[in-house]
């Protein structure tokens, strides 16, 4: 017995494309996915690229990646939340990453972190309400020779103290 013909389904990826149509970033991401031939094992690489393009991994992006790689959304969400490097929340205009590796910790990185937390009234992992500064911590950035190190907007800065960190932060928050 022949099954009744199923109604024509739009292509899986196309379902997420309408809102992405005018967005160049989705095009770049698609090209990147094609480079990996839509292989399942490229998921982490693709998420890296997506985060680089969008700044964080919003739900639409995760669904789009899942559809493109033909993976269940649960798997994509599972991977995105498992790894610390991926963030599902938007970041502030500036990022301050305090390294809390052993060498930095022994040399007082926790005091640097505490000073910044107090100044910005946020905890590590949070963003200020005005979306200006995101305060993050790292588990060793391999710059132990110049501990304690802090990464301001992607620039590794050596031998920080609570005072030098606050000086940098104040440049961002006060106009």
């Amino acid at each position: 017995m022949a099954l009744p013909p199923s109604p024509e389904k739009p292509r899986i990826a196309a379902r997420y494309l309408p809102q992405a149509a005018g967005d160049k970033r989705f095009k770049i991401l698609e090209a990147h996915i094609k480079k990996f031939q839509h292989r399942h094992d490229a998921l982490i690489e693709v998420l890296h690229k997506a985060q680089e393009l969008f700044g964080y991994l919003e739900d639409d992006v995760l669904r789009y990646v899942a559809a493109q790689l033909k993976l269940p959304a649960s798997r994509v969400y599972g991977v995105a939340t498992f790894y610390h490097f991926f963030t599902l929340k938007p970041q502030g205009a500036h990022t301050c990453v305090v390294c809390l590796g052993t060498a930095c910790y022994v040399k007082g990185a926790n005091r640097v972190l505490a000073a910044v937390e107090q100044q910005l009234h946020i905890k590590a992992g949070e963003t200020t309400p005005d979306n200006q500064v995101s305060l993050l911590t790292a588990r060793c950035i391999g710059a132990c020779g110049i501990a304690p190190a802090v990464v301001y907007d992607g620039t590794v800065t050596p031998r920080q103290s609570p005072e030098s960190a606050l000086a940098q932060i104040n440049q961002w928050v006060t106009p």
Binding site: H40, Y83, T102, V106, G142, A143, I146, P158
Partner: protein, 548 residues
Amino acid sequence: MTLNDLHQTKEAEIAARKKIVLRCCQAAGCTSSDSKGVKERLEKAVAEAGLQNEVEVRGVGCMKLCCEGPLVQADPSDALYVKVTPDNAPAIVAALKGGRSTLAQADPHSPFFTLQQSIVLTNCGVIDPERIEAYIAADGYQALHEVLVEMTPKDVVDTIVKSGLRGRGGAGFPTGLKWGTVAKSPGVKKYIICNADEGDPGAFMDRSVLESDPHSILEGMAIAAYAVGADQGFIYVRAEYPLAISRLHNAIRQAKRVGLLGSGIFESPFNFTIDIRIGAGAFVCGEETALMASVEGKRGTPRPRPPFPAERGLWDCPTLINNVETFANIAPILRRGADWFAGIGTEKSKGTKVFALAGKIQNTGLIEVPMGTPLSTIVEHMGGGAPDGGRIKAVQTGGPSGGCIPRQHLDTPVDYESLTKLGSIMGSGGMIVMDETTRMVDVARFFMEFCMDESCGKCIPCRAGTVQMHHLLEKILARQATARDLAKLEELCDMVKNTSLCGLGQTAPNPVLSTLRFFRHEYEELLQPDPHGPRTPATPVPPLTAAN
């Protein structure tokens, strides 16, 4: 590429060398102190002095004394300038033409440098890591040629077995044995993985090697692939190391271009390609089964072994996983012979080990010493002891899986067995020095917090145990704990150590156990008297006999 091409490249490179070389460190430590600017200004100053034909300004990898960066060293005069700023450039160039400069210099003949013995770091800080020609001029890829043309895969495995090389990732498993197992495993498709997920906080040896001499890793991997019969390799590197990633990409591109990676290498039937996989910040991915899951694009959770990766690894194919430093040792061993390598180090631990020296110590940076060097030589002589006249209290090795070695045991030789005997491990090579101001209970809490955050959550002892141990350590630090809590902590340590699924959980209690072993008084000073009196031992359970 043929052997002839290799020799020609080498000769052309040597012939093009200029009389004087200014080596300027371009590794991650120094670039954070504007060593890029220093290099640019040096080039400008050389041009202004009209010395372009005599002086080469060369960007090199890590020059080891990271605490004094940015570093610039002049060859052949050996002057080593420290904490160089771009404005110092004209003075450095002026000093090349004789005359003493007033710039800050370090002594290149101090114990920090003279007591080192380089195998892995031979090219570190000497060659330009971004040019394959520089590696070839330093005899690079010759070992690969010899292996492909003159040796059978079995000869290669035998050579590595004979050298006595042991895995540099921490556990110290004999490398030759591992290679032999993978070579013998049946399977058409096999994989090689280089574990560059250097997650231990306080360790930066692998980063330095990748940034300073990436081709040595590619050559080591290619030789390993030939020995075990693989044709595809992966380098799993942390996302936190952007410079290492970009230098690896560059190195792979160059090697492909000249035919040292790809198909028919050195006109032999051997094919080999390498892909880079970037981690995403999970410490557990340093564990080999978790790492493989991550390479496959899944959550990095470990699985029980056996089957070992050597039998069933990546996509269920036999897989060889070695650490960066292990691969960096391969080409030198084949170039200079297994006997030469076996002549260095101690009876059971051969060769050298690279350590990242950091913490409360004068000279922080990268060192490579023969196995068996006493810890005191490393921290007191080479490291220069604690800064500001302080006293070293303990040395932490092995990161969150290791332990603290107290002052009275500093004469211990550094090899796999001696460190294990003291309740620590060799680990990948992070060495954090702590002085009298460091509270050991706080250190134990710091590592436990790390393990708690990094536990993947798959097995219960690790997922729940680390949380409870962290809670107890917090309680002790808050002076709210009693002797009962301490006993509970020790019990939990034992349980988590013996019942966890993977290395992360099995070693998570080590920092607590080792600090308890040597600094128990620091814990006891924080304890409160128990309102309920001392804990009574539980009634022993009668042993089960065959009858019931």
